[in-house]
Amino acid sequence: MSATREVGRTTGPARPTLLEGLAQTRSLAWRTLVQIRHNPWELGDFSFQPIMFVLLFTYVFGGAISGSTGEYLTFALPGIIVMNMLFVTMYVGMGLNTDLTKGVFDRLRSLPIARWAPMAGRITADLVKQAWSILLLLGIGLILGFRVGTSWLHVLGAFLLVLVFALAFSWVSVLVGIVAKDPEQVQLFGFTALFPITFVSNVFVPAETMPGWLQAIVEANPVSILSDAARGLMVGGPVAEPVTYSLLWAAGIMAVFAPMSMWAFRRRV
C-alpha cells in the first residue's frame, strides 16, 4: 500500500476560503444530483407528480370551476407551480435526514471543508430540481393551453421569485430533516402539513367562492400571496403588492427557520 502515502502533507490555513467553500458546495450539489442516476424513481417523483396534478386538476375540475380547461389552466398553473415547489423542498429535509441517520454527515464534517458547504450543497441541488420541475410544469402547461398574458421577462421574474421562496422554505425542510427520526417522518410531515397549507389557498379555486371566515385564512396564507404574485407576473393583474409580500414572507421564513435549524443541528450532533 505504498501508494496510499506519499510525502507528509503540509498543513494548510486555519479555515477554508470562500472560494474553496463554493467549490465544495458544487461538489456536494453534484453528489446529490448524480444520486438520481441510481434512483431514477426520484426523478419520477418530482416530474410525474406535478404533471399528474396539472392533468388531474385541468381535466377533472377545470370544466366545473372555470367552464373551460384552457381558461382554468391559465388560472391554476401559477399556483400549481407554487404548490409543487413546496413539495419539492421536502427533498432537502429527506436527503439531510438520510445523511444524518446513515452517518454520511459525520464523514463530511470530519473532512477539511467549509462548515456550511454540506447544507449549501443540498440546497443548491434542490434549486436545480426546483428549476427543472418549474420548467417542466410550464412546458406541459403551454402544451395543454396555458397562455402567457404578460411577457417572457415577467415569466422569468415569476420563475426567480418562486426559486427565492423555495430557497427560504428549504429551511423549514432542513429543520424537519434535522428533528425527524427517519426520512419517512419527513415525508409524513410533507403530506400532513403541506396538503392543508396548499389546499386552503387560492391555488385551485378563487378565494371569492369560499365562506367569509375561510377567505380570511386563504388570503393570509403565504401560498396564496405567492400564487397571486406568480399569476400577476405570468397571466396579468396586480404585481407590486403580492411580490413585495411574497419577498417579505420569504425573508421572514428564512429569519425564523434558518437560526432554528442551526440550533436544532447543534443539539442533534
Binding site: T4, T98, V269
Partner: protein, 330 residues
C-alpha cells in the same frame, strides 16, 4: 517523544450522563493505540471528540499539535475516520464516493479520479466500482469506508470498531490492511471491544471503562500487570481428568475450570509448574498438554473492571446501529 494524539483530562457530558470523565491518552507517532472497552465505555465519544465532531466539555485534545476545538480545520486536514457511523453515500457508486471526497479535500478532478482508482484497486473493489454502494456486502462496505478515510492521505487514522459485524475472513483482511498502513507511517487510534483485535494490532492499549482510562500499557504489560497466569493441563486419557483436577485444585488453591479435556486454573506463582509435573507423574498421568500462559486480555479485563468485556454485546450492537441495515431511502 513525538505524539500524534494527546488528550488531557478530556470530559464530555450528555445531559446527566458523563461519557468521558477525564480521559488522558497519548499516541506515539506511527504506532497503534487500541482503545479497549465494553459498549458505553466512552470509546466512540472519545473518537468523535478527536475527530472534531463533538466539542469537549472539559480538558483538551491535540492532533498533530493542533487543538481539536481551536484549530479544528487543520485537525481535519490531518485525520481520516472510519467506523460504524462515518459512512459512505449508499446512493453513489464506490468510485463516485471516493471521487467526491477527493474533490472535497481539494484535489483537481484528474487527481481525484486517479486516487479513487488507486484505492479501489488496493481494496479489491475495482469490479464493484460502478455499482451503487447499497448493493455492497458488509465486508465491501467496510473496505470502501476505510478507502474513503484514506483519500486525503491522513497522517492519523481513527478506526471505530472497524471489524464489528465482519466475518472472520474479512476481519483478517482488514487487519492486514491496517498493518500495511502502519508500516507506511500512519498513526492509528483503534477502538474495539474485541480483545483479540487489540492484542493483534495495537502497540499500546488503553482500557477504558465508564469514561475513564483504568489501565494502559503494551498488551504484554497489561497481562503481566494483573499478575495472573493461567495453568492448563490436558491429560491424554480422559479417565485421568478427576485426578488432574484434584492435583490442580490442591496446588493452585482455587477451584479449576474444566473445559472439554482441559483443566485450567489461575495461578500467581510460576514455580508451581515443576510441582504440578511431579505430582501428576507420581499419579501416573500422561499429559497431552501442560502449559503456563499469560492471562488473555479477556481475563485481564475482567480483573481490572470486575465485569467481562463483551457482555451485552449483541444488545448494544442492536441499539447502536438502529438503521444501518435498513433498505433504500429516498
Amino acid at each position: 517523544m513525538d505524539y500524534a494524539v494527546v488528550t488531557e483530562r478530556l470530559v464530555k457530558r450528555f445531559g446527566e450522563t458523563t461519557a468521558l470523565a477525564g480521559v488522558d491518552l497519548a499516541v506515539t507517532r506511527g504506532t497503534v493505540l487500541g482503545l479497549l472497552g465494553p459498549n458505553g465505555a466512552g470509546k466512540t465519544t472519545a473518537v468523535r471528540v478527536l475527530a472534531t465532531l463533538l466539542r469537549p466539555d472539559g480538558g483538551r485534545a491535540t492532533i498533530g499539535g493542533y487543538d481539536v476545538v481551536n484549530d479544528a480545520h487543520r485537525v481535519r486536514g490531518l485525520i481520516g475516520m472510519t467506523g460504524q457511523y462515518a459512512s459512505v453515500d449508499e446512493n453513489l457508486t464506490g468510485a463516485e464516493n471516493l471521487l467526491l471526497i477527493g474533490r472535497l479535500v481539494g484535489m483537481p478532478r484528474p487527481d481525484a479520479r486517479q486516487r479513487a482508482s488507486e484505492l479501489l484497486a488496493t481494496f479489491e473493489l475495482q469490479d464493484a466500482a460502478g455499482r451503487a454502494t447499497k448493493t455492497y456486502s458488509g465486508g465491501m462496505r467496510r473496505r470502501l469506508d476505510l478507502a474513503a478515510s484514506l483519500v486525503g492521505r491522513p497522517e492519523i487514522l481513527f478506526l471505530d470498531e472497524p471489524t464489528t459485524g465482519l466475518d472472520p475472513r474479512a476481519r483478517l483482511g482488514l487487519w492486514q490492511q491496517v498493518r500495511e498502513l502502519v508500516s507506511d507511517g500512519v498513526t492509528v487510534l483503534l477502538t474495539t471491544q474485541y480483545l483479540e483485535e487489540a492484542d493483534t494490532l495495537a502497540d499500546n492499549i488503553a482500557v477504558i471503562d465508564r469514561g475513564s482510562v483504568i489501565a494502559s500499557g503494551t498488551p504484554a504489560e497489561l497481562k503481566a500487570r494483573t499478575g495472573a497466569q493461567s495453568l492448563a493441563v490436558r491429560p491424554q486419557e480422559s479417565a485421568d481428568l478427576p485426578a488432574v483436577r484434584t492435583v490442580v485444585a490442591e496446588l493452585a488453591r482455587t477451584e479449576p475450570k474444566v473445559e472439554g479435556q482441559t483443566v485450567s486454573a489461575s495461578v500467581t506463582d510460576p514455580t508451581l509448574l515443576p510441582e504440578v509435573v511431579r505430582r501428576l507423574d507420581d499419579a501416573g498421568v500422561v499429559n497431552a498438554e501442560l502449559a503456563l500462559r499469560h492471562a488473555s486480555l479477556n481475563e485481564v479485563f475482567l480483573s481490572l473492571t470486575g465485569h467481562p468485556a463483551e457482555e451485552d454485546e449483541t444488545d448494544a450492537d442492536d441499539t447502536k446501529r438502529p438503521r444501518a441495515e435498513q433498505g433504500v431511502s429516498p
